[in-house]
């Protein structure tokens, strides 16, 4: 890892009279959260490597409104949505890719009826396409033969029926993909969705992320793969709680692919 990341903004491209093939929607976690920023950078490295003509909104991006909507604040959600849609439409955006399943779900499903219709992809779908088109190659590298279990993000899996793209990518690493007892459509939530990320849990006898981490640990993985910055945080905390952070890493699928190639 040495080269400088190339991260053009829409404003720059616009000034040059260019249009990117895809807009990378970074999301709040991907922009500000220290752990999630690593995922953002890993994904950008892959985009740079595959010579994808992309751009970000940078300071013109704002929260999609997902946490507000799930918390019940429809006003705030729609204010955010309308503001974002104005920006996206002004730049004539057609295709969006994002590393956050919450942004993915909101942009894809909840923006169209407010005037924002785009082709929206989760980064695992986008990477899978690059792979299929021969623009990106995946090597196993350090992950060859490693036991990896994939935690389905609710907003990618059940919410939008995307189960295979991340798994296809993991298999390409020549890794041993092991499934948890509840996976895919029956995958257990990490505990962060529905604005739970931003509050303490109600009284109970366990934290949801601990329950999910225990399910993951049952598969005796070397790596827990995730596809969502919030799941990533929850599972990382879970692994720490079990004092297993020495043996088990929680990594985004994009990080796996980037690290395998020493990007």
């Amino acid at each position: 890892m040495s080269e400088q990341l190339k991260v053009p903004t829409m404003a720059q491209l616009m000034a040059e009279g260019k249009q990117p093939e895809v807009l990378f929607w970074v999301g709040c976690a991907g922009s500000f959260d220290d752990r999630a920023k690593k995922i953002t950078k890993a994904f950008v490295k892959l985009l740079n490597r595959a010579n994808v003509n992309f751009a970000v909104l940078g300071t013109e991006e704002s929260c999609t409104g997902d946490p507000a909507k799930r918390a019940g604040n429809e006003f705030l959600f729609q204010m955010q949505a309308v503001t974002n849609i104005e920006v996206l439409n002004a730049y004539e955006i057609k295709t969006v890719v994002t590393t956050c399943p919450h942004c993915f779900n909101t942009l894809k499903n909840e923006y169209p009826s407010l005037g924002g219709s785009y082709t929206v992809m989760h980064h695992t779908q986008f990477l899978k396409n690059l792979l299929d088109e021969g623009r990106l190659s995946i090597e196993g590298g350090q992950f060859k033969g490693k036991r990896i279990t994939f935690h389905d993000p609710c907003y990618l899996g059940r919410a939008n029926n995307v189960y295979e793209a991340p798994r296809d990518l993991i298999r390409k690493l020549d890794a041993e993909l092991v499934e948890m007892k509840s996976c895919k459509s029956r995958g257990l939530c990490c505990g962060a969705g529905g604005a739970q990320m931003f509050k303490d849990a109600e009284p109970g006898n366990k934290e949801v992320n601990i329950e999910r981490t225990e399910q993951a640990l049952e598969t005796q993985p070397e790596i827990i793969a995730a596809g969502c910055p919030f799941c990533n945080t929850m599972m990382t905390d879970g692994v720490k709680n079990k004092e297993k952070e020495g043996q088990i890493k929680v990594m985004d699928v994009a990080e796996l692919i980037a690290n395998a190639q020493d990007l």
Binding site: C28, P67, N73, N105, A159, R186, G193, G204
Partner: protein, 436 residues
């Protein structure tokens, strides 16, 4: 006097169907107390879902044992109803086994033999179900919301099934001409010898009694449905038809809010102008009572079988939180029934009873425990969407009462001011690109 049995039968039938009809009318009236919602789209997909999920029971087999048993009881129920048709015609016309003449001995034999075989399978399945509820005590049948009536309801239905199946087999076993014919008595031929000690006259009385009890039992069963979780036998069909077609992650965008947001964002709008169409402005945002929900959500509540598949998959419930999506549905139905009874008691209009769904039935603590993960929606075998009710009630708490937990208020303030749920400056959004 010759026609006395026919007349008695007709009266029983009219009473049974009439009372059922009255309750169905009530049911429809109660469901219509809900808000309007447009579900006229994509009829093909909707029929498809109904055929697959309700008729084809596609969601039941996710749990193989319960699924298989349920399919046996379900097929048994549907097919044995053909026999009921014969009973009704016989009862009204005073005939005996009228289909025998119509179908001929061998075909009729095949029919009755399959009914008898199914009756035995149903008995077996019902016993397994009873054991799961009462001896094995499966966790999902033991939750707090299942205490009392719901628990009894589950068992009463099972006893009903046992009695009906036994009456059916007894009726066949004591039908001497039928036994003599020796076609279709697959199971009942082994029961017939139990009665060999009796005189022909006594056996005939037993046969008639079993026949009458069987049909009366079925009429009682029909009328029991309205008061029971077993309403799903009927409502599973419309409910799967009207079930959500959009991706599970998509929550509806409130149109009333859209109108206001557009107004706020439009620099040319006159803030003092009267709203264009006063009808589109709702009395309130979100739901605090069942009448704020839409009618599909209310249909959902009546359809709930209280199976608890939703609750057993719910991450909040699994980790000991109070939230149970099944309870959300049961509470909605209970409150709707309460309102319905109130309307009946007050000559057709609702008299304020000072209660509502929020707080009196469902507490904010339950609502705030939801992660919106959709596990409950995925698990439900009859396409019920508990999450939509949870979100509508959160909307009321937040938009009408500003009663979100403090941390969520902080999060929302951040989104409003900085465009992110944390207190970071929007101008720093691209800093990551230059950090190492």
């Amino acid at each position: 006097m010759q026609y006395l049995p026919n007349i008695l039968f007709a009266i029983a039938l009219i009473l049974g169907l009439g009372y059922f009809g009255i309750n169905v009318k009530k049911l429809i009236r109660n469901i219509k107390l809900g808000q309007d919602v447009d579900v006229s789209d994509d009829k093909n997909q909707r029929f498809n879902n109904m055929a697959r999920i309700a008729l084809g029971q596609s969601k039941m087999v996710v749990r193989p044992i319960a699924g298989l048993m349920h399919i046996i009881v379900y097929v048994g129920f549907v097919i044995i109803n053909l026999e009921v048709l014969e009973i009704i015609i016989d009862g009204l016309l005073g005939t005996h086994r009228i289909f025998l003449g119509v179908l001929g001995k061998s075909l009729y034999g095949i029919f009755i033999a399959s009914f008898e075989a199914l009756a035995v399978l149903v008995l077996f399945a019902v016993i397994v179900f009873w054991l799961r509820r009462n001896i094995i005590k499966l966790k999902r049948f033991m939750s707090a919301e299942m205490k009392g009536w719901p628990e009894n309801d589950g068992n009463i239905i099972l006893y009903f099934e046992v009695i009906l199946m036994c009456l059916f087999l007894t009726m066949n076993a004591t039908d001497l001409p039928f036994q003599e014919m020796n076609s279709g008595n697959l199971v009942s031929q082994f029961i017939a010898p139990w009665f060999s000690g009796f005189t022909e006259g006594t056996i005939h009385i037993i046969e008639r009694s079993a026949w009458w009890l069987h049909i009366i039992g079925i009429l009682i069963f029909l009328n029991y449905l309205y008061f029971s979780k077993h309403l799903h036998i009927l409502l599973a069909f419309p409910n799967t038809y009207f079930g959500k077609l959009k991706p599970k992650g998509e929550l509806n965008n409130l149109e009333s809010v859209t109108a206001e947001v557009k107004l706020m964002m439009d620099p040319d709008a006159d803030p003092f102008a009267a709203p264009a169409n006063p009808d589109t402005i709702p009395a309130k945002f979100g739901a605090s009572d069942v009448t704020d929900l839409n009618w599909v959500q209310l249909l959902n509540a009546y359809t709930c079988t209280e199976c608890g598949r939703c609750t057993s998959e719910c991450p909040a419930n699994q980790t000991g939180k109070k939230l149970s999506p099944r309870k959300i549905m049961m509470d909605t139905r209970d409150r709707l029934e309460e309102i319905g009874k109130n309307i009946d008691a007050n000559g057709g209009t609702f008299k304020d009873d000072g209660k509502q769904l929020l707080n009196d039935y469902i507490t904010p603590e339950e609502l705030w425990a939801c992660t919106s993960c959709n596990a409950c929606v995925e698990a439900c075998p009859v396409s019920i969407d508990p999450l939509s009710i949870i979100i509508d009630m959160r909307r009321y708490l937040v938009m009408e009462q500003s009663a979100a937990p403090m941390e969520l208020n902080n999060m929302m303030t951040n989104v409003e001011n900085n465009g992110a749920p944390w207190p970071y400056n929007q101008m720093d959004r691209l800093n990551w690109a230059n950090e190492n």
